[in-house]
Subunit: 334 residues, 4 copies
Amino acid sequence: MIGLCLVGGGFIGPLHAANIAAHPRAKLQWVVDLDRAVADALAGKYGARATANLDDALADPAVNAVMICTPPRTHALIIERAAIAGKAVFCEKPVDLDMRRVEACGKVLRSTGTPFFVGFNRRFDPGHRALFDAIRKGEIGRPEILVLSSRDPEISPPDYVAAMPFGIFYDTMIHDFDMIRWLLADEPIEVIARTACMLDAKENPHRDPDTAMVMLRMAGGALVHVNSSFRAVYGYDQRIEAFGEKGMLISRNQQPTMLERYGADGIRQDGLLRFFVERYAESYVRELNDFLRALDEQRTPTIGFEDGRRALLIADAAVKSAKSGAPVAIVMEA
Amino acid sequence: MIGLCLVGGGFIGPLHAANIAAHPRAKLQWVVDLDRAVADALAGKYGARATANLDDALADPAVNAVMICTPPRTHALIIERAAIAGKAVFCEKPVDLDMRRVEACGKVLRSTGTPFFVGFNRRFDPGHRALFDAIRKGEIGRPEILVLSSRDPEISPPDYVAAMPFGIFYDTMIHDFDMIRWLLADEPIEVIARTACMLDAKENPHRDPDTAMVMLRMAGGALVHVNSSFRAVYGYDQRIEAFGEKGMLISRNQQPTMLERYGADGIRQDGLLRFFVERYAESYVRELNDFLRALDEQRTPTIGFEDGRRALLIADAAVKSAKSGAPVAIVMEA
Amino acid sequence: MIGLCLVGGGFIGPLHAANIAAHPRAKLQWVVDLDRAVADALAGKYGARATANLDDALADPAVNAVMICTPPRTHALIIERAAIAGKAVFCEKPVDLDMRRVEACGKVLRSTGTPFFVGFNRRFDPGHRALFDAIRKGEIGRPEILVLSSRDPEISPPDYVAAMPFGIFYDTMIHDFDMIRWLLADEPIEVIARTACMLDAKENPHRDPDTAMVMLRMAGGALVHVNSSFRAVYGYDQRIEAFGEKGMLISRNQQPTMLERYGADGIRQDGLLRFFVERYAESYVRELNDFLRALDEQRTPTIGFEDGRRALLIADAAVKSAKSGAPVAIVMEA
Amino acid sequence: MIGLCLVGGGFIGPLHAANIAAHPRAKLQWVVDLDRAVADALAGKYGARATANLDDALADPAVNAVMICTPPRTHALIIERAAIAGKAVFCEKPVDLDMRRVEACGKVLRSTGTPFFVGFNRRFDPGHRALFDAIRKGEIGRPEILVLSSRDPEISPPDYVAAMPFGIFYDTMIHDFDMIRWLLADEPIEVIARTACMLDAKENPHRDPDTAMVMLRMAGGALVHVNSSFRAVYGYDQRIEAFGEKGMLISRNQQPTMLERYGADGIRQDGLLRFFVERYAESYVRELNDFLRALDEQRTPTIGFEDGRRALLIADAAVKSAKSGAPVAIVMEA
């Protein structure tokens, strides 16, 4: 059994807690939240202990790993404290939003030899994974064009937006930047980004970009396109299309049901699943399992610190391009 | 060039006339219609001659073949006159609605050696044909279950219904009965039919069946289901599903466009094509071509008198079963 | 919390045990299996107690309800014992395969006033449920034609087949017979069935029907078709099509992923889910929840004894028709 | 009747000749081709006159309009000669590949008041047109993102490629550039293009770009993406996706048949139509009809000189961006 301490009981925390509780190899030992009531409620549900003080949990030898579900700007510090305490770390993306902070964090991880996993959950979506497998098997030969649609049904609340400017790159497309590297097993060498504010002032009072389009060139020559919006009224729209010398792969969206309704006015189907916790429900289960299996087998987790750093580096470059209008070259080496 | 005389300028006649005119190997020589004005209008459009008297056209040596598009009860007589005049015959289904009349007609055809083609156009639908080819190639191995949906958007006008009781079998399902024999290369040995009047008295004043379901057993063991309705509000619904030991084939409907519309209320697409002349437009072109090529190559047309007789025989059995409630055995031999 | 005793630790038992364990309102108290090792293994996984003796569990006041997952012929006896012990009962279909035995069991249930639920899980499939809801809301008006495809990827092992002749009706289509009654809110008045042995002697040594087709007429006039096979090589094929005066509803199959593969030889997608535990995974969760909520709210469970009896009555009639060849009238009243 | 002179009997010429012949309001009067044998063959098929000398046809008062199907570099001269001879002009795109030549040609057209139509046939595709109509009706509100996939199954022969460098922009994407302007009723203000040579030296000996990706910003704020390849092994891939504040529209590809094949290895369907003459067969008929109706009704044809000029201007900018790497601003005014 692997004992886990979950840090951050809001938002995505309860989902991870439920998955830990249902996992045959894991045990939720602690829930840590600055709001002790939140920690108590979540811990109580699964027979874990609660605290507002991270040190309580880190001191417990029954804790083998820390799962970090707090707001982005707190990630690096918690990672470092967990690493120094000798715990493995599962961290929701991103590592941090400031590259220097990320690099400092990386030093700690390297010096402590901490097993570290970044929660790029989309890599575990069954459809995206099948697309990945098909590319690896050579089904489309050399990939030449990659097109990602990555759209949310709505914009985050104003406070959240204010806390993370250019969140369309740092919070949403950062997933796509990771997917591009993973799917193509290649690194981008150039990024060009354009943004727009399409929502009205009431929905988007901070006039942070709510619509974006990015073009990337990969070292191996493939051309990549990503588009995002915070207003997909028909649901959470997540598609990947990979085109290559021998064909094309499309990972399409899922619908709540496969019901077709034929009427005098045409054929209707359900829209898409509306929330990422529904669309990626299985991904969250699978990424946890992948992390735990790596710990069990004492091997390096499949998505590591460098993956987190590089996705952020691409996001930084995209923001720079969106601001300057110019193409921005990307150099990956640390 | 093959000279054709078209008999019957209404309903499906103009469609055939246009196809003849566009065919590189055919020439429309005559249009015959009891209503001379109808004959004049259609003939004028394509530079053909018009008459209300069939003999005028049959006497013309430039006429090699007669295409019969008149109401069903006139078919047999016109077939016989054309056959005696030494013309090849393309006849819209059915040969006749009375089996004795059909058999008398068959005798004339045999004694004159007339090349004869029954217009079971659905055999030439590209999707249905691809399904047929896949069965023949053994893609699903031995066919075990066949399911046909055969639904019209609306019922025929009351006069038409009155002139042909049980038209749901004689006019609509007769196509399916032919398709079953063709697709399975086998003959039914039993038919069980049930009908209902679902339309209200205004739409279906004669209370002729407007909804029907049929189960057939084939000599080779396959089980077959057909269902029909005269009220498919979403369009002309024509599907075939063939299930066998190695898989399943489904020939689906066509839509006017492939446009998908994603909105807050779900995903919408166009309904189905609404009229058989749209759905089977290509079938009509292909069946004409098939008939003309048979004449050119002096071989027996691919859908002959016996196909027409057997489809009618199944329809007769279905009506008998619907009336009596009992399963009805089918013996095909003449 | 509702305490449950699971009887029968093989086959579908572990699935139900896992669902009980994951349910926030339920606690698995006992696992009963004649094979004590099976009971121990399953009980141990969820912290429950194990026994080979049903009485041990029935005597425990912590047990509020009994979930029966044993072979069909043992259902009635266990139902009766649980009912007499004052426990609510969730029973996998069927109640029993012998109608007189079913009726005797019903008397016990009525006299004890036992809350009773038959596990017709397909009613809880999200797609089928959405179809049901759409009919209830009047989306297709009056239903006129219902078509059910109900095919398994493979036949059961010979022992299982030998123990339940005509299992294609008693084990497979019994689900469809229940669905028909539920979807149409109507009762069949006539059934006509045909069967075939399509599998070879090696796969189907007992020559029990492995392929079947049924036609039913409902009291309200609707016509219904069901077809089944024990050899759907492409997966577990479960579709429902409801046609009515205002349109059509189709509940289609689900696929493991939504990946499309475009190659020089066409477009490929995954086949269907292959096992009913995958296809109906969510149905099993939902039916358990429905049962538990009924107990909580002290109302009659949604699928009761009479549903179990009537589905069996239709299956009996189908077998009679398949044997005699004649249509068989159905009278539902007890 | 409108008399037409077709110039250029190869490639797309025969398709247009057949459509003219089948059109109830048109008559093919002349076929002009430098290769007299080509002109003779095509003219003979439709009872038209043949010549290698354009002046013969332009001198004929029975010729009302000239349809230009010759290689691109000859278009401008023929347009001018036809305009001066007082004939209406239907010209396959582009007007010319040299912007100064185009502008000179425009002066002649304006001074002669010639009715002029550029053959951007894709505007007449039923699916694309339905998407256009849906945008106009406001179904997706304000369009925010437009994604076009525009891929050919194979590269043109080396001679053709050598004669038109950057043909991926001038010959293929020029259609998309026109579609973008038409669909959004807006003009691009910036274009950024990237290209690659993915085919090997045998297939693409001139190393002209065979793969391209373009990002455009529209004056109204919408962001647009286009990608092209000359190696879509699965067929002619032409899709449009329009995303807006109220939803999304996708015009999908067509397949030869709607047959689905379910086997042990999954589900297969036909690939896409392979040639633009199949995919856009109906578009060619409709654009001709649109042109002829404009002449009949003496109104300006729906796709005019300025549409041709602007599409070329965007293509020029795309080439400039692909060469320099920098974003290129677009100023539409002449």
